[in-house]
Symmetry: D2
């Protein structure tokens, strides 16, 4: 339906399915973040959540956020949560003319200032000298972010299942391996070390091998949030956004408070030819 | 003016003065957070900011936040920023009957969920076992937070100027010394490790020796944010709130982007007898 | 044979068996430290090493050390190394009268000075304040070490397989759980923070459940190395020494350089009634 | 006197002076390592230690070590320790033909095995993947060590007084700045991550600006310890060796146990034209 209006912008339609199965060892509260975000350039044609066995759950969003969470508690047993959606995504128009400008922190919109702070998994305060020496002399914000993205792609090896939720950007800088979340955290940390606002992005990716919920990052370049994938595993035009956050912990696919084991995870994202 | 209406609650009036002087080594952007917050129980009778030499500055708040920031840029030289205020503070009414209840994470208001996350300086994810063993068996949220506050007071030695902005809760747990910010970060980390929302608090404190902007923390106990001072250097009833944040980095008295040295800092907070 | 001469000292005889099986993924060099040490109070009645399939190996000791190593290289396949020994152990005589004295670092034998240094897994330099506050006021070296041993036993939870070879004393102080190696590293770090020489001890332990090569530590108390087991899982009189080192890395049961997986480990230590 | 016999090797004679002054805040034990080592290629023509005021001190060496220590205790006041020496140094002959060979760990002399271990300040265990990817494909030990030395020189910025005694190789890899000790620690950590024995080197350096006791590292290349200076501040042929150690902590210029401040340090090393 959006298609006619957007002749020159990339337009896609996706069929999405994700399913997580858990064994509950002791009473556990789960917070899921698996539904696609409702944004100006994403239209959810239809979607459904089902939980088996049938469990009460609550949907919520935090104030001033597009991210959508599901909360539920279960005391014992096993359960499966499934999400189905058809989503239309139109490429966000980008004004590339702005890419030739540099921005200083005094010119930044105040509401993006929280996105230059150091975080548990993005210790930008420890990378000030490194970032300035390696990327600081480049002529504008865009070229700095692009250089960061390329540096991380070239320097870090993608190794499946090689890290865990406590791995931080500095850990990755030393180990030199990681998964998509670690690539994103390191890029975010470098950007913030240069006073460039950056945020974590999660989404469904068509044709990702192996299929998984993917993590990338967005940098704030002259007033526009621009997405980059430092793993170069996806075309960023083929992503369906789930959430943005200051780091992975804010937009975890699943957070647990209790004791549980994820025994199965299925993720599917297929382009629908229209 | 509030006094007549609040016979049973603690009421105070304060004269506040703070002044910071900087030498600017290279062009630097400053973000100050020194103005008292406008809250339901704090009335600012009058206040003024002056900068010498006269410099353009911008006041701003982030969306959905009571915290008040000042932003300015200066290229070279020295400058002094001064803040004067007269503030009336009335004690927040607290329903102590609620202190006998325990709350689980499923019952928490969704908007306080960000206050149970791990942070750069409050690595609650590393303290899960410690917090559960040391405080987890206590019967309700209030007794857990009180035990955390007492444990930190008894275990950590207050040593002026002993730490810096990179010191985290885990660093303090090992070194066993710190300043008010470190005491607050450690308490916050323990609370969050037990799924108790906790936030950082900065304020002016009457009779604090030596005078300084003070840091404490607030825990979310059965729907109420309750303040604690793990340094036990102040009576928490005698604090004038500047800001709340997820950790110190969000509400730093002064953040710099550039190169500068703080050459002088004066903080005064006197009770006005009414 | 020693028995008649040592009426008052504890005397024991042990039958020891240990066996390790490996799958070799790429060419790997192994250094094993599984043979019991030849010391003044340990007599090896007999012992044998066998490797299956039959592989060439080299035995060596480092200059001025009782520790005994085996080195071998294998390119692919699987192999098993087995160790059998009968060992007589007589309790080392201890002069407890010395326990009432305190020693300062200036009085220490120079050759034990390396045992007060900070190490990768025993970061004593970070624990100076903690150790001084918690244990520093006790009247003599023995009471300090005993208090350290008890503190670690009471504060850290023993959880099998909960840590790995990168876990350090400071990690354990924060996580509050670990295995015998972690208990020993933390005690060693506290001792060294107080200028008390301390060293890592590995040995075979009769009646240890589950059977494993055990780790303890020794502190240098007024000229005598005294053994302590902070896990309190063994009677330290029932240990057969394999090695001493500055930390676990110097006396690892097995070090690998290559890529391999240990698929099976058997450890047996039985008292022989004589 | 050595000169006639060594026509082709570099021969030098140096006049060395170093002096350290301390204020003693509480009773403190000092261990100094400022005397030049007595080695096969260093002849001490004359030397003297003087302490003012006149204090009793003890000279010692550890078993099997060329390093020379001085130990003394002082309860209060100030004191100065001065060292004067005339030293003849002849270049160690190096067999460069061996540089084209690679060595595996199985071929290493057993007594150098301790020099491939991880240390508090050289966390080689965390750098296995990094070192293998960055340097592992080079054809022989010499080319690997040379590449490590060049990488550290090019990647790390030398900034005087920028670090302290707790700074480790991994810290430097993230901060990207340091002093000579940090450059040496990082090189050592990379070498050990590749199973190349490496050790810390301290010495007097002619023409070093600013004058200081210098730190470098030696790598064990096909049976020979070869010196490298990753700061490239000196010609390694112009160094007078004080000590070798597994890291800086073993051969600290001065170690303190107590509370003291170094108020003055003078280091002079001049070539004597012969």
């Amino acid at each position: 339906m959006l298609k006619n209006f957007l002749t020159y912008l990339h337009y896609m339609k996706y069929k999405i399915f994700s399913e997580l199965t858990y064994e509950v060892i002791e009473p556990t509260t789960y917070i899921f973040n698996i539904q696609v975000a409702k944004t100006l350039n994403q239209i959810i044609v239809n979607e459904s959540i089902s939980i088996s066995p049938d469990l009460k759950f609550e949907e919520f969003s935090l104030t001033n956020s597009e991210n959508r969470f599901l909360k539920l508690q279960i005391n014992y047993g096993t359960f499966t949560i499934s999400y189905n959606a058809i989503v239309e995504v139109v490429e966000k128009p980008i004004n590339q003319d702005l890419f030739e400008f540099d921005t200083s922190i005094i010119e930044l919109d105040n509401d993006v200032l929280p996105f230059i702070s150091s975080r548990r998994h993005c210790e930008s305060d420890k990378l000030l000298h490194f970032a300035k020496k390696e990327f600081g002399q480049l002529p504008n914000v865009y070229s700095k972010v692009k250089a960061i993205n390329d540096w991380v792609f070239n320097s870090i090896e993608y190794i499946s299942d090689s890290t865990n939720s406590s791995t931080s950007a500095c850990d990755t800088l030393i180990s030199r391996f990681g998964v998509c979340k670690d690539f994103a955290h390191l890029c975010i940390a470098f950007c913030r070390a240069l006073d460039i606002p950056a945020r974590y992005f999660t989404g469904y990716a068509a044709n990702l091998i192996p299929p998984d919920i993917h993590a990338c990052f967005e940098a704030y370049i002259c007033g526009q949030w621009i997405i980059f994938d430092p793993t170069k595993l996806t075309n960023t035009k083929n992503l369906v956004k789930i959430a943005n956050g200051k780091d992975a912990s804010e937009v975890a696919v699943a957070s647990y408070h209790g004791n549980t084991i994820c025994t199965k995870m299925i993720v599917q994202c297929e382009e629908i030819i229209v």
